[in-house]
Symmetry: C2
Subunit: 118 residues, 2 copies
Protein backbone atom coordinates (compact mmCIF):
# COMPACT_ATOMS: atom_id res chain seq x y z
CA UNK A 1 0.00 0.00 0.00
CA UNK A 2 1.25 3.40 -0.95
CA UNK A 3 0.42 6.45 1.08
CA UNK A 4 -0.43 9.75 -0.57
CA UNK A 5 0.92 12.15 -1.53
CA UNK A 6 4.12 10.46 -2.65
CA UNK A 7 6.66 11.13 -5.35
CA UNK A 8 8.21 8.94 -7.95
CA UNK A 9 11.20 9.58 -10.11
CA UNK A 10 11.37 10.01 -13.84
CA UNK A 11 14.98 9.93 -14.79
CA UNK A 12 15.59 11.02 -18.38
CA UNK A 13 18.76 9.50 -19.80
CA UNK A 14 18.26 11.05 -23.22
CA UNK A 15 15.32 12.53 -25.15
CA UNK A 16 12.57 9.88 -25.09
CA UNK A 17 14.66 7.55 -22.93
CA UNK A 18 13.52 7.20 -19.36
CA UNK A 19 14.85 5.11 -16.54
CA UNK A 20 11.96 4.73 -14.14
CA UNK A 21 10.46 2.28 -11.67
CA UNK A 22 9.66 -0.31 -14.37
CA UNK A 23 13.13 -0.54 -15.89
CA UNK A 24 14.72 -0.49 -12.45
CA UNK A 25 12.48 -3.40 -11.38
CA UNK A 26 13.45 -5.29 -14.53
CA UNK A 27 17.16 -4.80 -13.86
CA UNK A 28 16.65 -5.91 -10.29
CA UNK A 29 14.67 -8.97 -11.42
CA UNK A 30 17.47 -9.98 -13.79
CA UNK A 31 20.03 -9.54 -11.00
CA UNK A 32 17.94 -11.73 -8.71
CA UNK A 33 16.85 -14.46 -11.13
CA UNK A 34 19.71 -14.50 -13.63
CA UNK A 35 17.11 -14.68 -16.37
CA UNK A 36 15.26 -12.17 -18.54
CA UNK A 37 12.29 -14.49 -19.00
CA UNK A 38 11.95 -15.12 -15.24
CA UNK A 39 12.31 -11.41 -14.49
CA UNK A 40 9.75 -10.36 -17.09
CA UNK A 41 7.31 -13.11 -16.08
CA UNK A 42 7.43 -11.93 -12.47
CA UNK A 43 6.46 -8.45 -13.73
CA UNK A 44 3.71 -9.73 -16.01
CA UNK A 45 5.65 -8.33 -18.96
CA UNK A 46 6.25 -10.06 -22.26
CA UNK A 47 9.75 -11.31 -23.01
CA UNK A 48 9.71 -9.22 -26.17
CA UNK A 49 8.92 -6.06 -24.25
CA UNK A 50 11.60 -6.84 -21.66
CA UNK A 51 14.18 -7.28 -24.41
CA UNK A 52 13.14 -4.01 -26.01
CA UNK A 53 13.55 -2.15 -22.71
CA UNK A 54 16.93 -3.73 -22.06
CA UNK A 55 18.07 -2.94 -25.56
CA UNK A 56 17.07 0.70 -25.06
CA UNK A 57 18.89 0.84 -21.74
CA UNK A 58 22.00 -0.84 -23.12
CA UNK A 59 22.06 1.70 -25.93
CA UNK A 60 21.95 4.61 -23.48
CA UNK A 61 25.16 3.78 -21.70
CA UNK A 62 28.74 3.52 -22.80
CA UNK A 63 28.75 -0.12 -21.62
CA UNK A 64 25.76 -2.50 -21.70
CA UNK A 65 23.87 -2.98 -18.43
CA UNK A 66 22.68 -6.51 -19.19
CA UNK A 67 24.46 -9.32 -21.01
CA UNK A 68 23.00 -12.65 -21.96
CA UNK A 69 24.93 -15.82 -21.34
CA UNK A 70 24.38 -18.61 -23.82
CA UNK A 71 24.64 -22.31 -22.98
CA UNK A 72 26.56 -23.66 -20.02
CA UNK A 73 25.30 -25.78 -17.17
CA UNK A 74 22.08 -23.78 -16.66
CA UNK A 75 21.22 -23.50 -20.35
CA UNK A 76 21.93 -19.79 -20.57
CA UNK A 77 20.63 -16.74 -18.80
CA UNK A 78 21.34 -13.09 -18.30
CA UNK A 79 23.15 -11.01 -15.77
CA UNK A 80 23.96 -7.42 -14.95
CA UNK A 81 27.35 -6.11 -15.87
CA UNK A 82 29.31 -4.03 -13.41
CA UNK A 83 27.86 -0.94 -15.12
CA UNK A 84 24.38 -2.45 -14.75
CA UNK A 85 24.88 -3.04 -11.04
CA UNK A 86 26.26 0.46 -10.61
CA UNK A 87 23.37 2.08 -12.49
CA UNK A 88 20.77 0.10 -10.49
CA UNK A 89 22.48 1.00 -7.21
CA UNK A 90 22.63 4.67 -8.26
CA UNK A 91 18.94 4.63 -9.15
CA UNK A 92 18.02 3.14 -5.76
CA UNK A 93 20.24 5.65 -3.98
CA UNK A 94 18.65 8.46 -5.96
CA UNK A 95 15.20 7.24 -4.91
CA UNK A 96 16.22 7.28 -1.27
CA UNK A 97 17.93 10.65 -1.56
CA UNK A 98 14.89 12.19 -3.19
CA UNK A 99 12.38 10.65 -0.79
CA UNK A 100 14.36 11.76 2.23
CA UNK A 101 14.81 15.27 0.86
CA UNK A 102 11.15 15.56 -0.12
CA UNK A 103 9.65 14.28 3.12
CA UNK A 104 9.02 17.66 4.76
CA UNK A 105 7.48 19.24 1.66
CA UNK A 106 5.26 16.20 1.15
CA UNK A 107 4.08 16.36 4.75
CA UNK A 108 3.02 19.98 4.21
CA UNK A 109 1.22 19.01 1.02
CA UNK A 110 -0.52 16.13 2.80
CA UNK A 111 -2.04 18.62 5.23
CA UNK A 112 -3.67 20.45 2.32
CA UNK A 113 -4.82 17.33 0.48
CA UNK A 114 -8.13 15.60 0.95
CA UNK A 115 -6.38 12.26 1.01
CA UNK A 116 -4.11 13.11 3.91
CA UNK A 117 -5.47 10.35 6.14
CA UNK A 118 -5.89 7.61 3.57
Amino acid sequence: MKSYPHISLRLSLAPETLLGAGKAALLQGIAETGSISAASRAMDMSYKRAWYLIDTLNGSFAEPLVVSVKGGRTGGGASLTETGRTVLALYRRLENTVRTAAADDLAELAELAKTAEV
Copy 2:
Protein backbone atom coordinates in the same frame (compact mmCIF):
# COMPACT_ATOMS: atom_id res chain seq x y z
CA MET B 1 17.67 23.06 -23.67
CA LYS B 2 17.72 20.28 -21.14
CA SER B 3 20.87 18.46 -20.25
CA TYR B 4 20.89 14.73 -19.67
CA PRO B 5 20.51 12.84 -17.47
CA HIS B 6 17.96 14.88 -15.55
CA ILE B 7 15.07 14.05 -13.29
CA SER B 8 11.52 15.20 -13.19
CA LEU B 9 8.95 14.77 -10.47
CA ARG B 10 5.77 12.79 -10.51
CA LEU B 11 3.83 13.72 -7.45
CA SER B 12 0.88 11.41 -6.79
CA LEU B 13 -1.85 13.14 -4.83
CA ALA B 14 -4.14 10.13 -4.91
CA PRO B 15 -4.43 6.97 -7.03
CA GLU B 16 -4.57 8.14 -10.67
CA THR B 17 -4.12 11.78 -9.66
CA LEU B 18 -0.78 13.30 -10.47
CA LEU B 19 0.56 16.77 -9.95
CA GLY B 20 3.37 17.14 -12.44
CA ALA B 21 5.07 19.71 -14.61
CA GLY B 22 1.97 20.28 -16.78
CA LYS B 23 -0.47 21.03 -13.97
CA ALA B 24 2.11 23.15 -12.18
CA ALA B 25 2.63 25.20 -15.36
CA LEU B 26 -1.12 25.61 -15.71
CA LEU B 27 -1.45 26.87 -12.13
CA GLN B 28 1.43 29.23 -12.72
CA GLY B 29 -0.11 30.49 -15.96
CA ILE B 30 -3.39 31.22 -14.18
CA ALA B 31 -1.52 33.07 -11.44
CA GLU B 32 0.31 35.15 -14.03
CA THR B 33 -2.52 35.85 -16.48
CA GLY B 34 -5.60 35.76 -14.22
CA SER B 35 -7.31 33.69 -16.89
CA ILE B 36 -7.77 30.00 -17.62
CA SER B 37 -8.15 30.60 -21.34
CA ALA B 38 -4.98 32.72 -21.54
CA ALA B 39 -3.05 30.18 -19.46
CA SER B 40 -4.21 27.21 -21.53
CA ARG B 41 -3.62 29.03 -24.83
CA ALA B 42 -0.04 29.77 -23.80
CA MET B 43 0.45 26.04 -23.23
CA ASP B 44 -1.23 25.02 -26.47
CA MET B 45 -3.88 23.23 -24.42
CA SER B 46 -7.61 23.30 -25.02
CA TYR B 47 -9.76 25.25 -22.58
CA LYS B 48 -11.75 22.09 -21.98
CA ARG B 49 -8.65 20.12 -21.06
CA ALA B 50 -7.45 22.93 -18.77
CA TRP B 51 -10.79 22.95 -16.96
CA TYR B 52 -10.68 19.19 -16.58
CA LEU B 53 -7.21 19.34 -15.03
CA ILE B 54 -8.20 22.13 -12.69
CA ASP B 55 -11.34 20.29 -11.67
CA THR B 56 -9.26 17.22 -10.85
CA LEU B 57 -6.81 19.30 -8.84
CA ASN B 58 -9.55 21.14 -6.99
CA GLY B 59 -11.12 17.81 -6.08
CA SER B 60 -7.86 16.53 -4.62
CA PHE B 61 -7.52 19.20 -1.95
CA ALA B 62 -9.64 20.21 1.00
CA GLU B 63 -9.95 23.70 -0.55
CA PRO B 64 -10.02 24.51 -4.28
CA LEU B 65 -6.77 25.72 -5.83
CA VAL B 66 -8.39 27.79 -8.56
CA VAL B 67 -11.56 29.87 -8.44
CA SER B 68 -13.21 31.60 -11.32
CA VAL B 69 -14.39 35.17 -10.96
CA LYS B 70 -17.48 36.10 -12.95
CA GLY B 71 -18.19 39.57 -14.31
CA GLY B 72 -16.63 42.71 -12.86
CA ARG B 73 -14.57 45.31 -14.64
CA THR B 74 -12.41 42.79 -16.52
CA GLY B 75 -15.30 40.56 -17.58
CA GLY B 76 -14.32 37.67 -15.32
CA GLY B 77 -11.26 35.55 -14.94
CA ALA B 78 -9.66 33.06 -12.63
CA SER B 79 -7.18 33.18 -9.82
CA LEU B 80 -5.35 30.94 -7.41
CA THR B 81 -6.68 30.69 -3.89
CA GLU B 82 -4.31 30.84 -0.94
CA THR B 83 -4.25 27.03 -1.03
CA GLY B 84 -3.46 27.16 -4.75
CA ARG B 85 -0.56 29.53 -4.20
CA THR B 86 0.72 27.38 -1.34
CA VAL B 87 0.51 24.17 -3.38
CA LEU B 88 2.30 25.75 -6.35
CA ALA B 89 5.02 27.15 -4.09
CA LEU B 90 5.41 23.75 -2.41
CA TYR B 91 5.69 22.04 -5.78
CA ARG B 92 8.41 24.48 -6.91
CA ARG B 93 10.25 24.07 -3.62
CA LEU B 94 10.00 20.30 -3.96
CA GLU B 95 11.49 20.51 -7.45
CA ASN B 96 14.42 22.52 -6.16
CA THR B 97 14.90 20.30 -3.13
CA VAL B 98 14.92 17.19 -5.27
CA ARG B 99 17.21 18.60 -7.95
CA THR B 100 19.71 19.80 -5.40
CA ALA B 101 19.65 16.51 -3.52
CA ALA B 102 19.96 14.48 -6.71
CA ALA B 103 22.80 16.44 -8.30
CA ASP B 104 25.66 14.22 -7.12
CA ASP B 105 23.95 10.96 -8.06
CA LEU B 106 23.05 12.37 -11.49
CA ALA B 107 26.63 13.45 -12.07
CA GLU B 108 27.80 9.87 -11.40
CA LEU B 109 25.15 8.53 -13.76
CA ALA B 110 26.18 11.02 -16.43
CA GLU B 111 29.67 9.56 -16.36
CA LEU B 112 28.27 6.15 -17.28
CA ALA B 113 25.84 7.39 -19.91
CA LYS B 114 26.58 7.81 -23.58
CA THR B 115 24.95 11.21 -23.49
CA ALA B 116 27.23 12.60 -20.83
CA GLU B 117 28.60 15.30 -23.08
CA VAL B 118 25.40 16.28 -24.87
